[in-house]
């Protein structure tokens, strides 16, 4: 997109009815490395690609636990994500304190989205530059939500955001109808394969224990992060997949 005279602050509409600052904030989300979320009847899974600035540095944090039953993956400005995660953790704790019950995901996401919206309607603020994929398990079952700097939020069966996420979404579009009936292992497999699609086009990059992290939450499973050695079993499917042609229907393993 090109610069224009209506994009200086978020409180100015363009003649086409757009708020350019929000769209620029959404570009920041697209700059972050990819994250994939999938959900079935009992579980929700996040697969993330952790980027490093150099070989000497540790990887960027992509997964944030929020509560025993909620966690999220981020794409975009990590500092903004940290602020939001602190807010979400406080909200969950307060809810548990008052109502003796884990916070329902829809209500938490609504509050986060409202917080995003406030930043789009004040002269003194800028929009949050981070997109969140939030997974959780509450009374109504597992959920996957995406939030955006615009203050909108959506619930998904499967979704990917970040750099080259469209490739992952294309893969997920082929397989999402089979997700509800697959096992947890198959679900993780789909998440990792979708993530792999985002690096498939790059020559010298592939998923490894160094740059991939997984998180699962579900019926009898608290939000658990798998990284470093713990993620190796889930990456094995990538090995198997690279030996046969990519086919979204091969979910019978």
């Amino acid at each position: 997109m090109f610069r224009n005279q209506y994009d200086t602050d978020v409180t100015t509409f363009s003649p086409q009815g757009r708020l350019h600052q929000i769209e620029y904030a959404q570009e920041a989300v697209k700059q972050g490395s990819a994250v994939v979320g999938v959900r079935n009847k009992n579980y929700a899974v996040l697969a993330t690609l952790k980027r490093t600035t150099s070989d000497l540095a540790s990887t960027q944090k992509k997964l944030f636990p929020i509560d025993d039953h909620i966690g999220m993956a981020i794409a975009g400005l990590t500092a903004d994500a940290r602020l939001l995660s602190k807010y979400m953790r406080t909200e969950c704790l307060n809810y548990k304190y008052v109502y003796e019950c884990p916070m329902p995901l829809s209500r938490l996401v609504l509050r986060v989205a409202d917080k995003h919206q406030i930043a789009t309607q004040r002269v003194s603020k800028r929009p949050f530059g981070v997109g969140l994929l939030i997974i959780g398990y509450d009374q109504q079952g597992p959920h996957l939500y995406e939030t955006s700097p615009s203050g909108e939020y959506w619930e998904y069966q499967a979704m990917s955001i970040g750099a080259r996420a469209q490739s992952a979404r294309t893969y997920l579009e082929k397989v999402f109808e089979t997700l509800d009936n697959c096992s947890l292992d198959q679900l993780c497999r789909h998440a990792v394969l979708a993530l792999r699609e985002t690096v498939a086009a790059l020559k010298d990059m592939e998923l490894s224990t160094k740059n991939c992290a997984l998180a699962i939450v579900g019926k009898d499973l608290k939000f658990t992060i798998y990284e470093d050695e713990d993620v190796l079993p889930y990456l094995d499917v990538v090995q198997a997949a690279s030996l046969q042609p990519m086919d979204g229907q091969s979910s019978t393993l």
Partner: protein, 251 residues
């Protein structure tokens, strides 16, 4: 500019702000219109909570047709004793809570346990500001095949149990409830038990009347009965010519 020196009369009106004594902010320290005991028992297929329909004004039986049992949601009910205006305030707070749920328009509703915890937090917060809601509440409900019975008092103390009571019900009713409780007790049997308790309460609690309501929370939902009176027996020899067995002396 001329310096205006106030006259003696004006000077006499002057009030030194450092010497002013103001009454401190005070909150109600004792209840005025009060409800009596509330009694509850947990059954295998639901919960039974009962209360009489009296609001006393000190020792006067002032309002004799007042319902102290309230349906909170389709699977949660509340019984309250203590200051009636505070109980009405609690009813308003709970109504707001349920309305908020309605406005969210998702499938989530407050469970009886959540209502119990919420009330505990509210009452504790009030008492911590030395401005208590002067009530003893029983919260009961039935969700997902489980019955729940909990109590909250004016300090914000909360606990849950199979049998609970407030006020005089603790002294006279709990022993009877405990004796009658069995894990497989049904709601119909539970109603008989609480009726027995209220009979004893009417005999011995001076701030009670013979008109009770019984509420149940079961799979079918929450029902609160119409008020009715209990059969009582007043021709015991001790009632006809009452005399304490400890009256030995004549003066």
């Amino acid at each position: 500019m001329q310096l205006r020196i106030p006259s003696a009369a004006v000077k006499a009106q002057y009030v030194d702000p450092t010497q002013v004594v103001v009454d401190p902010v005070r909150h109600t320290t004792s209840p005025l219109v009060t409800g009596g005991s509330v009694v509850g028992i947990r059954c295998c297929d639901g919960v039974v909570i009962a209360a009489d329909t009296l609001a006393s004004y000190g020792s006067m039986a002032r309002f004799q047709n007042l319902s102290r049992l309230v349906k909170v949601t389709d699977n949660c009910l509340l019984g309250g004793g203590g200051e009636i205006s505070d109980f009405q305030e609690i009813q308003r707070l709970l109504e707001n809570l349920i309305t908020k749920d309605f406005c969210f328009n998702d499938e989530h509703t407050q469970s009886p346990r959540s209502v119990h915890q919420y009330l505990g937090r509210v009452l504790y917060a009030q008492r911590s500001r030395l401005n208590p809601l002067w009530n003893s509440l029983l919260v009961g409900g039935y969700t997902a095949g489980q019955s729940f019975l909990g109590m909250v008092d004016l300090y914000g103390t909360t606990f849950e149990s199979e049998v609970l009571a407030t006020g005089f019900g603790v002294l006279l009713g709990l022993p009877l409830l405990r004796k009658a409780y069995r894990p497989d007790l049904t709601v119909q049997e539970g109603i008989k038990v609480v009726e027995d308790v209220y009979r004893v309460l009417f005999y011995r609690d001076a701030r009670s009347i013979n008109r009770i309501q019984v509420a149940t929370a079961t799979e079918a939902g929450v029902t609160i009965s119409e008020p009715y009176s209990l059969e009582t027996k007043w021709d015991f020899k001790g009632f006809v010519n009452p005399r304490s067995p400890y009256d030995e002396s004549t003066w």
